[in-house]
Amino acid sequence: MVRNTGIAVLCRAVFVCFVFSLLTVFSIDVNPASAQSPAGRDVSQGESLNGAVPGNTTGGVSDSEFWRQVRSGAAGGLVPLVQSQGDEWSRWRGPLQTYGGWILAVVVGIILIYFAIRGRMRIEGGRTGMVIPRFSLTQRVAHWVIAILFVILGLSGLAIMFGRFVLIPVFGKDGFAAIASLSLQAHNLFGPLFVPAVIALFITFLRGNGFKMHDLKWIMKGGGFFGVHASSEKYNFGEKSWFWWAILTGIALSVTGLIMVLPGLGFERGTMQIANVIHTAAAILFMAVGIGHMYVGTIGIEGALEGMTRGTVDVNWAKEHHDMWYEQHADEATPDVAAAEAQAADGKV
């Protein structure tokens, strides 16, 4: 492991950040293999050092004057060896983990409870066999690309974020070290692909996602989730909100992610730490709503998924979920599924 440039160093740098927390302050070239050193664990869990020098460094007692000099760069190098902002970063990280974990758990809990009580939202009128083109091939490609990246980046990100609490008990420290390593690599490799994917998502789904007055009515009716029919155009208020939510958090994730993954661009450590905090927060916000989206798009609402696979939806589904859109496209309804799919593929939606 040489290489002073590019992703190799960054990979390690980010990895080290996550796994060793404060230990990075003292050493830039930590061997990942020492991931299980007791010091690393102690420090990253934020326990008090009680004046002891962290890690396996020789010497027993800290000297506040000495450390001040180290911090300011006076003790030997031109560069400060200790970067105080790291303390700030570590103060953010803990709460982010705690509250972030709770947010995601609550979202999953709400979905489970809703599903237990109300079950799958069926097409009330049953399927008619008549379909309407809904999503173009370009839209579907853009959607599934970002969906695949969501899964890869989401899982690897969660492993990096919560693996210490969730995975160590299951796989042991050695096992988690491997998972942390693979998650880091996957996250860094797939991360940059997320940026063009977000841009493609924005371009292909922008039309029809502007908020309008009638969206208020949809909100008043609880989005149709509680037995009251809520009218909507091609996208309802929930879908529109999710679109903008995904785009905004996606932009935040992209910008902060690039800052962290491209140290060659000259970002300072402090900038990266801020980026890391924003990245974590944005990821939790993105995932929390994303999980809900995955639920309604698959098992939550019957007939929704095929719009994103085949590109067409059943007429009754359209009437029940997007009646205003249906009215505009009623003349396109056809029992010729192949023709409708071809029309959707051509982008005539």
């Binding site: 492991m1 290489r3 440039t5 590019g6 992703i7 190799a8 990979c11 390690r12 990895f15 990942p32 293999a33 091939l137 579907r140 490609v141 599934w144 690309v145 695949i148 990246l149 890869i152 070290a177 491997a178 390593s181 693979l182 880091l184 690599q185 996957a186 490799l189 797939f190 940059p192 692909l193 696979t309 085949r310 590109g311 192949a338 799919e341 071809a342 593929a345």
Partner: protein, 225 residues
């Protein structure tokens, strides 16, 4: 691969297995399976064509091998997605397969006995990203395109899925710090190699013959389609 000493981790039995016995089985199945399939196809033979050729069939065959690598006949605007995503995937995969430093090491130590200059790390990561992007795009299209949905069978997904897994586990092992990760990568490679001769992955070899036969057919007619 065998960096147990560098990282201070014992090589787990799993990695030993994947890089040892299973690797030999997989390599054997791959080599003999591929040969069997190619020889089996070619041995079917073709009757002699007694028509008077306008031009050389062989020249036409070789021309077709090259020509069908690029869009021609005015189709590019219609097939740009396939062509671009296809090239992204294949070029990236080629770069990964033969120019990633660990792969060059592996080929030198375990297969060929000689090596060559690998790509620098950053280039190899970019190649991986391009390749993944291409594969995901092709995959997604397979799900969404009505024509491909009609043509597809399970092997389309198994083949591309296994290839994806091989690439993904390779990405997982990038840090080269954990022998078990290298072992998982090697395991998927072994499975992929065993599956290869029985699957559509064979197109990596059969494209030569398929294009050649067509090129020869057209070459005799003086046509380069």
């Amino acid at each position: 691969m065998n960096d147990a000493n560098q990282s201070g981790h014992a090589i787990p039995w799993f990695t030993d297995f994947a890089e040892g016995p299973l690797w030999y089985v997989a390599a054997t199945v791959f080599v003999f399976g591929v040969l069997w399939r190619i020889v089996g196809l070619l041995a079917l033979g073709r009757g002699e064509d007694k028509s008077v050729p306008k031009q050389s069939g062989m020249a036409g065959g070789i021309k077709a091998i090259l020509l069908h690598s690029v869009p021609h006949g005015g189709f590019f605007t219609h097939t740009a997605f396939h062509v671009i995503a296809g090239y992204m995937f294949h070029i990236g995969l080629f770069a990964l397969l033969f120019f990633a430093a660990p792969h060059v090491d592996f080929l030198r130590e375990r297969v060929l006995g000689f090596g060559w200059t690998p790509l620098p790390d950053w280039a190899f990561i970019v190649a991986a990203q391009i390749s993944f992007a291409g594969l995901i795009l092709l995959w997604v299209r397979r799900v969404a395109d009505p024509v491909i949905r009609r043509l597809k069978d399970a092997h389309d997904y198994i083949g591309s899925g296994l290839t994806f897994l091989v690439m993904l586990t390779g990405c997982f092992a990038l840090q080269e710090s954990r022998p078990v990760l290298a072992g998982i990568h090697m395991f998927t490679v072994d499975i992929w190699l065993i599956y290869f001769p029985f699957s559509r992955l064979m197109h990596a070899f059969t494209f030569l013959f398929s294009r050649y036969y067509t090129g020869a057919f057209y070459g005799r007619r003086g046509v380069t389609p």
